[in-house]
Symmetry: D3
Subunit: 330 residues, 6 copies
């Protein structure tokens, strides 16, 4: 994939007009209110993972609609805390996987909550969490078109609510310092982290890598790649539903939620990312903080030669340093 999007200097300045639907903030407030009606109901079970430096628990809690959501809690063996905590949301098609697949944050001294993704987990990492909230209506394979006709029914409303709940759960854990919780994720996980930043106050930080779920209207015109292509595939046969579908997507667009965020943020973007076009990431980054976008404590790390793999271990190096700095600065 050659450098197909805007040149870097234009990307840095790219802040397209928001298309906030009417009642956007009310929609999300009602969503949080509805979520609050289901108590978190946290259950945890030690998981015999065969590790010696890290302890693992299988954590279950009630997400959107009271549906059970699974997570792994990893932390340094024997740690009593309270520790700062990284709450991680995973990329599209993946689930929480197996506990030894994500050892970075616990090995670096943090509590780490890896949150499963409802209905996903069919590739690279497995998942166990169902999406019973889906009404079963016709949808193109994948998640983006589940409930595309109505923001209240859309899949990402449910997933963002699960993510908000996951932060609440993390804050409730005895090992975790509730004032030191960081939302983190790559791709879909990065989009969810941005959304969480717009919905949950008081986060220590947000680390969003090559985030998906940003600037849908632009993304579908820039790339044919999955998963944005699901939207186009659906609308290719449901030809009468184009505007209604984008109105729904406007409600769950991470650019819009990022404009409500205020926590410190470290974002990464890759200039040859054909899955999440760089200008959609910059749209989110540049709007991050909304009216105070120029004052918010935020940074973006640009990876010149990468596609959607982004910064990989090099971005982790940045994050280890950035996060250590945030913790130290408290």
């Amino acid at each position: 994939m050659s450098a197909y999007d805007l040149p870097l200097e234009e990307l840095r300045a790219f802040r397209p007009p928001l298309r906030l639907p009417d009642g956007f903030d009310d929609f999300w407030q009602r969503t949080l209110d509805e979520l609050a009606q289901h108590p978190a109901d946290v259950r945890r079970t030690p998981e015999p993972a065969g590790l010696t430096t890290v302890d693992v628990d299988d954590v279950r809690f009630a997400g959107w609609g009271g549906d059970e959501v699974a997570a792994w809690l990893l932390r340094p063996a024997g740690a009593t805390g309270p520790l700062p905590c990284v709450v991680e949301f995973v990329g599209y098609s993946g689930g929480r996987g197996l506990p030894w697949e994500r050892l970075l944050w616990s090995s670096a001294g943090y509590a780490h909550l890896v949150v499963d993704t409802r209905g996903q987990g069919w590739a690279w990492t497995t998942g166990v969490t169902a999406d019973p909230g889906h009404d079963g209506g016709p949808a193109a394979p994948g998640m983006l078109t589940r409930g595309l006709h109505d923001p209240h029914e859309h899949y990402y409303r449910r997933l963002y609510a699960d993510a908000v709940r996951a932060v609440e759960v993390a804050r409730s854990l005895p090992e975790v310092d509730p004032d030191a919780v960081v939302a983190h994720g790559i791709s879909q996980g990065g989009g969810v982290a941005l959304a969480v930043a717009g919905l949950v106050p008081g986060l220590l930080g947000v680390m969003a890598d090559v985030p998906f779920l940003c600037a849908f209207r632009r993304a579908v015109d820039l790339t044919d790649a999955e998963p944005y292509a699901e939207v186009v595939r659906w609308l290719a046969s449901h030809r009468d539903d184009v505007e209604r579908a984008f109105l729904t997507l406007d409600h769950v667009d991470a650019v819009h939620l990022a404009s409500r965020a205020s926590a410190p943020a470290l974002v990464s973007v890759a200039l040859r990312d054909e899955v999440c076009p760089p200008s959609t990431v910059f749209a989110a980054y540049n709007h991050y903080g909304g009216d105070r976008a120029d004052e918010v404590d935020k940074q973006v790390r640009v990876w010149w030669g990468n596609g959607h793999e982004g910064g990989g271990g090099h971005q982790q190096r940045e994050q280890l340093a950035w996060l250590a700095g945030r913790v130290a600065a408290r």
Copy 2:
């Protein structure tokens, strides 16, 4: 796609051992019993389709679990019947579409019930029927892995039940001669038609073209093409579930249900079909009729140079003649 499967002479003789799971017939009897607990609840509304030679109704009825299933009823304008009726099931990813997209059978003097496919209809033809019976558990995009852990939860159990119900609905219509109902479909629709033939007695005939859903264990080893590939994709990350998954698929394998069928059948197969490998179709065809497979009135039409598009209009020519013969012979 070159001729990658067995040579034609071997295909004609190909009858691999059945792998009927324990309690196979009971499983389906219980399924039919459970279906019977929901009355069909047929509703029909004239559809203003802008046609003059064909009348169209939008038909809705209760399928598996009482879920609403949509269909189109087409028949020659003004016909009072009773007419022989073609009940058609549609191919993977499609739905019942728009009424003027399938004018063949009504133009040939038949009643024609085009049955929607629950949860599908995202490509080439649209659909409106939901699959609320899905428990929302993690599944690879597509339908084959919905409920792969348990035959009772598997998607095709629900779909076959809808199809059985559709035949019942057709038989109940005043325009239709209940003794002259034919099950028909292409690809997924062909697999469903074979399944219906194994579940419903007294059909006038079955016309199954390049059927999908046959000989899963073999198909996934012969082709990488969608949709069989959904099974492999799922099992690639759910590595512990291989045997359980195939045990489920054995329950919905159209080869197994075809071995319980007895109605006259016209099957078609394409020798370069990379989606539904010819040997999987011949497995169904050769087992069709079970113990009496050699006595059943059945034919197979082989298309030498075709892939999954099969015989197209040429196969329709065969079907018009074959079906006219069946009607005349009554």
Copy 3:
């Protein structure tokens, strides 16, 4: 295919300068004169198609150079007319096919003449009409480079003449109202319909979907897809012939012929059409009517999420309504 062409607002205004070759109108007048020297010599034979609501005739007539051209005539069973008539030209690589493959217009009460395409019919639908007018000169596989060195020898001159003749034939049929003939087609058929609109006065209407054969000079720079790619492939080895080739193509460019048209028109375009780039379709649409382009009764239907499949059954819905309106308004 992402949205690779101009944005929609620019497409709507896109009217590039015409490049009418010297003597363009004379060229076509001489072509029509030459066509007139061969009488139409219509022969028709009832075709036993196995249908009850539609009657079918195999129609043969003399096209360009007196070459025999085949067509199907379909109309409501027993209709005596005079009926309005849809004359349909088919897409690239296809032929008139089998009569039951196109039942829409006769089922909607129209006479329907499906015209074969000389020398084509090698894919999806078969054909039986030869192109003996071809001098056999070296040509890249396909039709676009047949006679590329001279507009008099170019394939599309012959094909457009056949199409003009087909309209004459339709008007001569007893079932057809000669004042109510509509030219229609998809892709190549749409380009031919536009050309016919520029060559034949008095049409009731033109329905051209995702038309091919428009704005060759632009198309070959915008897309690599077949069949426009035939031109590039040929010129890649015939490197000295570039200008001469485009001069020939200017003679058969449907944009140029559309600028001579005046009949009411319903055009469709798909924004992700990689075969017929949307700006080439808008070039034709915006020039349609020539000096009176802003006064002509025309509409364009834009399909947002579609490639070259265009509007499919949804576009047919538009056409059924539009055409009923045209007929009613007479």
Copy 4:
């Protein structure tokens, strides 16, 4: 392309039954008789090619049906002969090209007649020779399906006749020793050379590299690659014509004509050739010489790691030596 065909030891023994159609030898005798009715009518013009060591003439002669066929004659500058002569037929889609594109044989001291291919020359090398003998009947793009319904109308009947005539023309040139003419070609040119060997007595030799046009019935089942795929593409829509098509192809199958050959032969084959599968080449090689196949002076050079590019310059090294030996041995 991995080694997808038979193992080498089986290839060496691979001699599938011939499927000579009834009247095969008569068919070709009548073809030669008909060819003889048109005098060769050779015209030659010096071509100013800008070379100093090689002289070039543009040669034109009457081929099948009296159609003009073009060729280049190259020979060492100032040579008066009589020289042994390589008559070369070119690969599919190519033409005789430009004279300086094929300098090998004249630089090695031979006369070299490069024969154009009727109707081809659209890629890599240009051509100027038309195929007016084509009746214009519907055909898939390419040459294989021109006249597929009747061996008398098939394209390769005309091309083989041109090739026979080219040998006659070479023998008539004053610079050429008529007893020292070699038929040569790569791919299509190799198939034509084998055919010529079966039709023309008294050749000094045949050099056929990775020959096309061999064992059609097998080739279309082994490879999807062009140009064999043209046959399948055509028969995919002309579904009723399969047997008739193969009967036609049996008439022009180079395996069958090779079984009538007796001249010394040097054949090459590549084990990863996806265009001309190695077993189709071995079928021709092993049948070469027919009843006396085991006595004929022939060799095959096997290239282990090559696809259809074959032996390239290395095969030329073999040919330079082999041909020098044949000349010396006279």
Copy 5:
């Protein structure tokens, strides 16, 4: 990739004849002798990796020819040992990467030496180790054809020697129990691990996943995938060198070295692995142990639905258990 190789039951029995070149064991003994002439010269530097549960050192030592080879040593923070140690070799194109990219084995209580790969590290994980031993002779891009003309010059001779040295280095570390060293790797790393098992006595075990470098002669005929395809690409132009090349590869074939191994082994294989065909892995597995192949303590884990990604985290689960068992059993 469908299941293109032998059926599983045949794979389990697949033990093709070894093609040990003359002097095979001498060749490797001389290689080890030559290696021994360069002292290991181990240097280690603490690496500030930002982790708290794991300590990291940057280790450098002299490999083949005295060339500097880099590695990471990871172990539980503060561990004094002696610990069992996993020596890991990495997959093709990768290098040792960044230390926090491989935390599994140290988190499970082992010392873990991640060894860089000379001249590699251009993808997914970076590397810093040069291959100055390369004579710079023409080679296809990649490593397989470096020195293909002579086993003494071949790249994998150097790499295997580095690997043997890495085991020696591990055994010399104060934290490591020299009797409890395990060779491990995936793909290329798995092939190297098998080779090490054939060259180094006294290992506690070998864990080789979807190993590359096995049964070259078979692999290049079964798959077109990289990196085996490098061999074919090279030989496609170096047509005279086929036998010499394979004679070289026979010297470094991991099947041959595995036949000299005796340590307990856990191998994994994926049935849809298009990079390392399953039969090449089974060839190594079934020959592992040589004359005592049926007595050696070895297991193979078969992954049914996977390609070259193999068992992933599921295989790690197997390895954690297997290795814990080996350690406990001492």
Copy 6:
């Protein structure tokens, strides 16, 4: 590949700012000085090529670092000269090949020195020249990343030095007129020819076709094609090295060296060249001659419909005429 780069009128004017690194001219002067320390040490051996009109010698000489470089010398049989001489550099992945593969220039009366490419020759034409100057450091497969960290170590520094030496060698040959030497090549060979033009005074001319190695910073953003993609692939994992890498490439950018050239030049460019984007070629062409770019005797031949195959035999026709003119004009 559609016309993806700038429109032709913009290409003709495209002269982006040079990015000459500090000390650029010194860098190359020192390189030439260092080259001069190794005497050319020319050895020649008659090669028995089997040709009669052309004589061939295998020539060996000392290139950069004194490394042996191979070449073929071809000239009209028996020529004593002094002849004008074409020194040809070959395209990426190729080597000097076999002598009979390049007969054009000797057949046209020139001496012709075909120079091998160090370390290449793995495809289409073989090579025998090593690149021992490579330090073996990690590099992506291919040549572009060898020594990317330092211009002194970069592969193309060595190759350009070989090329300068080849011109010196040609001038020293008794058959060659030292004042009539032309540098020539296609693709990589064209880039080398441009570089030679910037490094060697007094050339009779330069013929550079579709040159590679021009405007690296732009090329990697315009195309994903090999070999430019090697740079991106490397930097995708070596994420910290982007600027250093481009600083190295600036030293060997043929645009920069072309700005130091003054010999008459004939350049060709293809508008659909996806390997060497047309704007990168025009950047070199428009800067050719540097401050005197508008006065230098230069021409560019634009091929409209071609990809990287460029003008082929048609461009040779241009070159034969252009070069004859240059020789005549002396």
